[in-house]
């Protein structure tokens, strides 16, 4: 399952319980982000134990994109059975800030800030 255009891609790998986000996300408002939010929610609904969201390949995210990830996390925190993990690069300051903000919304969120060299 994948949502993409020439600027970005968000792909779900059910067998690995993994969603990978790549590229630059600067869509216009909630409506244009709806397909991406749907994909994220479907991925969460299909997984019973854990789901990983890898944001390392994301080069840019606008405020409507931030809003999409916060909506997703707020939805998922209702699920007691699903452990959500989000990965970002420690060298990319906005990714670290986003992950920490998401963790403030969902204290059980596992955030993994990794060096770019790995």
């Amino acid at each position: 399952m994948e949502v993409k255009n020439k600027e970005y891609s968000v792909s779900y790998q059910p067998e690995n319980a993994l969603v990978i986000c790549k590229g630059s996300l600067s869509l216009n408002g909630t409506a244009e982000y709806e397909p991406m939010l749907e994909l994220l929610l479907q991925a969460a609904n299909q997984q019973m134990q854990h789901l990983t969201l890898n944001l390392c390949g994301l080069t840019f995210l606008n405020s409507s994109g931030i809003n999409t990830f916060t909506k997703f996390v707020i939805q998922v925190r209702k699920r007691q059975d699903l452990q959500l993990r989000i990965i970002g690069y420690e060298e990319i300051a906005w990714q670290v800030k986003l992950l920490r903000n998401l963790q403030r919304l969902m204290p059980t969120l596992e955030i993994d800030v990794i060096p770019q060299t790995t």
Partner: protein, 194 residues
């Protein structure tokens, strides 16, 4: 009548080096115009890196731009351009201009656009909410509130500039002309770069 809110610098030195991008909001459809936001934001952040920071010497040492500053400049430029496109009055032929001023320790964004009286009123309410509350608490509260809503704008742009990038924001409102239905809004964003 002129109204100033927040951290607004009225007298930017004219000899300051600056970059300005202008466009007419109604000349091409929004969807098409939207695609230029990323290009303009990239250009502004690269301009900062190549023409400004590379030349600077702070405390006797060449100042090297961090990726964090570059990201902040790109993010703020993009958000300001998005706002200008979303909220500029479509019936006005007043050009929207984004200017980017370069100082030793700070970069300043300056966006001028024409909006309807209704948009100006809504913006003023939002500004007062922002100025009268703790922005970090407001940021999280807005995220929670948005989770219950299905449409519209996120309202996170200014809050993320303040909370994630320590930006200082200011605004000026003035009537375009005594008999005009439009208000000219100048939005100013200051970012420390040291």
């Amino acid at each position: 009548m002129i109204k100033i809110l927040g951290n607004f610098i009225s007298d930017i030195p004219i000899q300051t080096e600056y970059l300005q991008i202008g466009f007419s909001p109604s000349s091409i459809p929004l969807k098409q115009r939207w695609q230029t936001n990323g290009l303009s934001a990239d250009f502004i952040s690269e301009y900062l890196e190549v023409f400004f920071v590379g030349q600077q010497v702070v405390h006797g040492e060449k100042f090297v731009i961090s990726s964090q500053i570059n990201d902040a400049v790109k993010y703020v430029a993009n958000e300001l351009l998005e706002n200008a496109m979303k909220f500029s009055a479509p019936d006005s032929d007043y050009p929207t201009r984004i200017s980017f001023f370069l100082f030793d320790q700070q970069v300043v964004f300056h966006v001028i656009n024409a909006v309807t009286q209704n948009s100006a009123d809504n913006l003023e309410v939002l500004i007062h909410t922002l100025l009268d509350n703790d922005p970090h608490e407001l940021y999280l509260a807005k995220m929670e509130a948005n989770a219950e809503e299905s449409g519209g704008h996120s309202g996170l742009g200014f809050l993320s500039m303040v909370c994630d990038y320590s930006a200082k924001l200011g605004w000026k409102f003035e009537k375009l002309a005594p008999d005009s239905p439009f208000i000219i809004v100048t939005t100013m964003v200051c970012l420390d770069i040291t």
